[in-house]
C-alpha cells in the first residue's frame, strides 16, 4: 500500500438532485418560460384588471390613477427632467449617508466586538438608540443642520449607522469558536486571529448588515426630504405632487423610487454577494 489506489471519494452533492419532472420544464427553454411566464401573466392581468375596473366604475384618478395615466406621466418630458434631477439628489444623500453611517457603524461594531470593556460601556447606549424610532429625530436634525444636503445625508447616515453596528457585533460574536481554537493551536497571535479568522468569518453577517443599512439610508434621505422643505429630491417631489393632488404623478415617482430601491438594495447587493461568495459557505 504505497500509493493510494482509492478513487476520489464520492463528492458531497452540491445541490439537491433534480426531481424527476416532465421534460419540457427541465429543458432550458422550459425553465425560462416557467420563470418568466407567471410574473408576466400576473403583471398583465393586474394592469388590465385595474384599467378595466377604473373605466367600468368610473373611479376618479385621485383614488387610483389608471395605469395608462401613469404611463402617460412617465413619458412626459417635464416629469422625466424633474425626476432625473430629484433621483440624483436623493441618491447622492443616500450614498454619502450610507458610506459615512455604515462605515463608522462597522468600525464601531468591530471595536465593540474586540474590546470587552468598550462593548460593556457602549452597549446600553446602542440599545437605547436602537429602541428610539430614529425617524423622530428628523425635526431636531433639521433644526441643527439646516434644510439642505448636509441634513439629508447626516440623517441617512444615522439611520444606516445602527444596523451596521448591530450586525457587525452579531457577526463577530458568532465566529466559530473551533476556528479560533484551531488558529490558537497553531500559535496565531491576536491580530492574526482577527485578520485571518474573525474578519473573513464575519463577512456574511457584515454584508447582510450593510444591505439593511443601505435600505435605511434611502429611507433616511426620503424622510429628510419630507421634513426639510427646501431639501429637494424625490421626497420633495412627492410632496409637491401631493399638494397638487396629482396622484398619477405620485405613483410615477413611487415607481422610480421602487426601481432605485431594487437597484441599490437588491441588484447592487447581489453583485456584492457574488463577489464575496467564498465567505458565504458554511463548511466545517
Amino acid at each position: 500500500m504505497n500509493k493510494v489506489t482509492e478513487a476520489p471519494e464520492r463528492r458531497v452533492p452540491r445541490r439537491e438532485p433534480p426531481a424527476p419532472r416532465r421534460s419540457f420544464r427541465s429543458g432550458p427553454l422550459g425553465k425560462a418560460a416557467f420563470l418568466l411566464l407567471p410574473p408576466l401573466a400576473v403583471g398583465l392581468a393586474g394592469v388590465l384588471l385595474i384599467q378595466l375596473v377604473i373605466s367600468r366604475f368610473e373611479i376618479s384618478g385621485v383614488v387610483i390613477p389608471a395605469p395608462t395615466d401613469i404611463f402617460a406621466v412617465m413619458r412626459s418630458d417635464i416629469f422625466l427632467e424633474q425626476v432625473g434631477q430629484s433621483t440624483w439628489e436623493t441618491w447622492k444623500a443616500t450614498l454619502i449617508g450610507f458610506v459615512l453611517g455604515a462605515g463608522s457603524g462597522v468600525l464601531l461594531g468591530m471595536l465593540m466586538a474586540e474590546s470587552r470593556i468598550v462593548r460593556f460601556v457602549l452597549y446600553p447606549y446602542v440599545v437605547a438608540f436602537q429602541s428610539l424610532p430614529k425617524i423622530a429625530l428628523a425635526p431636531v436634525c433639521a433644526l441643527w443642520l439646516g434644510f439642505g444636503l448636509t441634513m439629508k445625508f447626516s440623517f441617512a447616515a444615522m439611520l444606516a449607522f445602527f444596523p451596521a453596528v448591530i450586525a457587525t457585533l452579531a457577526a463577530f460574536s458568532t465566529v466559530a469558536e473551533s476556528r479560533l481554537e484551531m488558529a490558537t493551536a497553531f500559535d496565531a497571535n491576536r491580530r492574526q486571529r482577527f485578520v485571518r479568522i474573525s474578519l473573513p468569518s464575519a463577512v456574511p453577517g457584515i454584508v447582510s448588515g450593510l444591505e439593511i443599512s443601505m435600505a435605511f439610508a434611502l429611507i433616511g434621505a426620503i424622510v429628510g426630504e419630507f421634513v426639510a422643505p427646501s431639501a429637494g429630491g424625490l421626497g420633495q417631489l412627492l410632496l409637491t405632487y401631493s399638494e397638487a393632488i396629482n396622484v398619477a404623478a405620485e405613483f410615477s415617482v413611487l415607481v422610480v423610487l421602487m426601481l432605485l430601491g431594487v437597484l441599490q438594495n437588491k441588484i447592487l447587493f447581489s453583485v456584492i454577494r457574488a463577489g464575496t461568495e467564498r465567505f458565504f459557505e458554511s463548511s466545517r
Binding site: 416557467f34 420563470l35 407567471p38 410574473p39 401573466a41 400576473v42 403583471g43 385621485v62 383614488v63 470587552r116 470593556i117 460593556f120 460601556v121 446600553p124 440599545v127 437605547a128 438608540f129 436602537q130 429602541s131 428610539l132 424610532p133 425617524i135 423622530a136 429625530l137 428628523a138 425635526p139 431636531v140 433639521a142 433644526l143 441643527w144 481554537e181 490558537t184 435600505a215 434611502l218 429611507i219 426620503i222 424622510v223 419630507f226 421634513v227 424625490l234 421626497g235 412627492l238 410632496l239 405632487y241 401631493s242 393632488i245 396622484v247 405620485e250 405613483f251 415617482v253 413611487l254 423610487l257 421602487m258 426601481l259 430601491g261 431594487v262 438594495n265 437588491k266
Partner: protein, 263 residues
C-alpha cells in the same frame, strides 16, 4: 482564550466594567449640562440637561405627551392588526401555490425595496389628516415582513412531515391543519417582531409628514417653537416606549417558543 493567563476574577472584571460605564455616563451627562451649548452659536439648539429633566418632571407637558403617545400607539396598533391579518392570509395563499408565488415574487421583491414611508403622501390624499391615513401607512409597512415570513414558512414546511402524514392517509385539509399551520407559528412570529418595530416607526413617520395629532406632530411643533427641552423629553419618552415594546416582544417570543418548540 484558553492559552492566556486565567482572566481576572469575575468580581474584579465586573467592577472595572460597571465603573467604566458609570464614568462614561457621568462624563456625558456633565458635558451635556456644563459645556457651552449651541452648535450654531445659538444657545437654544441643545437644551440643558436640567431643562430636559424639568420637562420630564411633574411640571412637564404630560397631558400633551400622553395624548400624542396614545394617538401614535393607536395608529401603530390598528395598522399592525391590518398588516398582520393581510400578511398572514396572503402569505398562506402565496406559500401554497408555487405558480402564484412565482408570479407575485418579483413584485413582492420590488415593493419591498420601496421605502414604505414614501407612501405617506398618498395615504394622506386617500384618508385625510386623521388617524386613518397613518393606520393605512402602518398597515402597508407591516404587511411585508409578515407576508414574506408566512410565505416562507408554508413553502418550507418539512417535506418529511408531509410525507409521514400522507403515509398515514391524511387529507390535504388535514395536512394543512395539522402539519403546515402549527409550523407557521414561529416564522410568523419572527415576521411580527420586525413589524412591531416598524409599526411604531411608520406611525411617527406618517405624522411627521402630515397629521393633526400624535408624537410626530408635537415633535414638529416643539421644533418650530424652539421648545427643545420638551422635544428632548419626548425623545426620551420614545426611548422608554421603544424599550418597553422590545421587552414585550421578547417576553412574547419567550412565551411562544416555550409553547411551540420549532424542532
Amino acid at each position: 482564550m484558553t492559552a492566556a493567563p486565567r482572566p481576572m476574577s469575575a468580581g474584579a472584571g465586573a467592577a472595572v466594567r460597571w465603573g467604566g460605564l458609570a464614568v462614561v455616563t457621568a462624563v456625558l451627562l456633565a458635558a451635556w449640562q456644563f459645556l457651552p451649548s449651541g452648535v450654531q452659536g445659538d444657545g437654544s439648539s441643545v437644551p440643558k440637561l436640567d431643562a430636559v429633566v424639568k420637562a420630564l418632571g411633574p411640571s412637564g407637558e404630560w397631558g400633551e405627551y400622553l395624548t400624542a403617545l396614545r394617538t401614535t400607539l393607536g395608529e401603530a396598533f390598528f395598522g399592525l392588526l391590518i398588516g398582520f391579518a393581510a400578511g398572514v392570509v396572503l402569505g398562506v395563499l402565496l406559500g401554497e401555490s408555487r405558480i402564484l408565488r412565482q408570479g407575485f415574487y418579483p413584485y413582492a421583491l420590488a415593493l419591498q425595496a420601496l421605502p414604505p414611508i414614501a407612501l405617506a403622501p398618498i395615504f394622506v390624499i386617500w384618508f385625510g389628516l386623521g388617524m386613518e391615513s397613518k393606520i393605512g401607512l402602518v398597515g402597508a409597512a407591516t404587511l411585508f415582513p409578515i407576508l414574506v415570513s408566512t410565505m416562507a414558512g408554508v413553502a418550507e414546511t418539512d417535506r418529511g412531515r408531509i410525507e409521514m402524514a400522507t403515509a398515514f392517509g391524511a387529507s390535504k385539509a388535514q395536512i394543512r391543519r395539522k402539519i403546515v399551520f402549527p409550523g407557521l407559528v414561529v416564522p410568523i412570529f419572527s415576521g411580527l417582531e420586525i413589524s412591531v418595530v416598524l409599526s411604531f416607526l411608520a406611525a411617527i413617520a406618517g405624522e411627521l409628514i402630515s397629521a393633526n395629532a400624535g408624537i410626530g406632530v408635537i415633535l414638529q411643533v416643539y421644533q418650530r417653537d424652539f421648545r427643545l427641552a420638551e422635544e428632548f423629553a419626548v425623545l426620551l419618552i420614545l426611548v422608554v416606549v421603544g424599550l418597553a415594546l422590545a421587552l414585550l416582544v421578547r417576553l412574547a417570543r419567550h412565551f411562544v417558543l416555550e409553547r411551540m418548540p420549532n424542532e
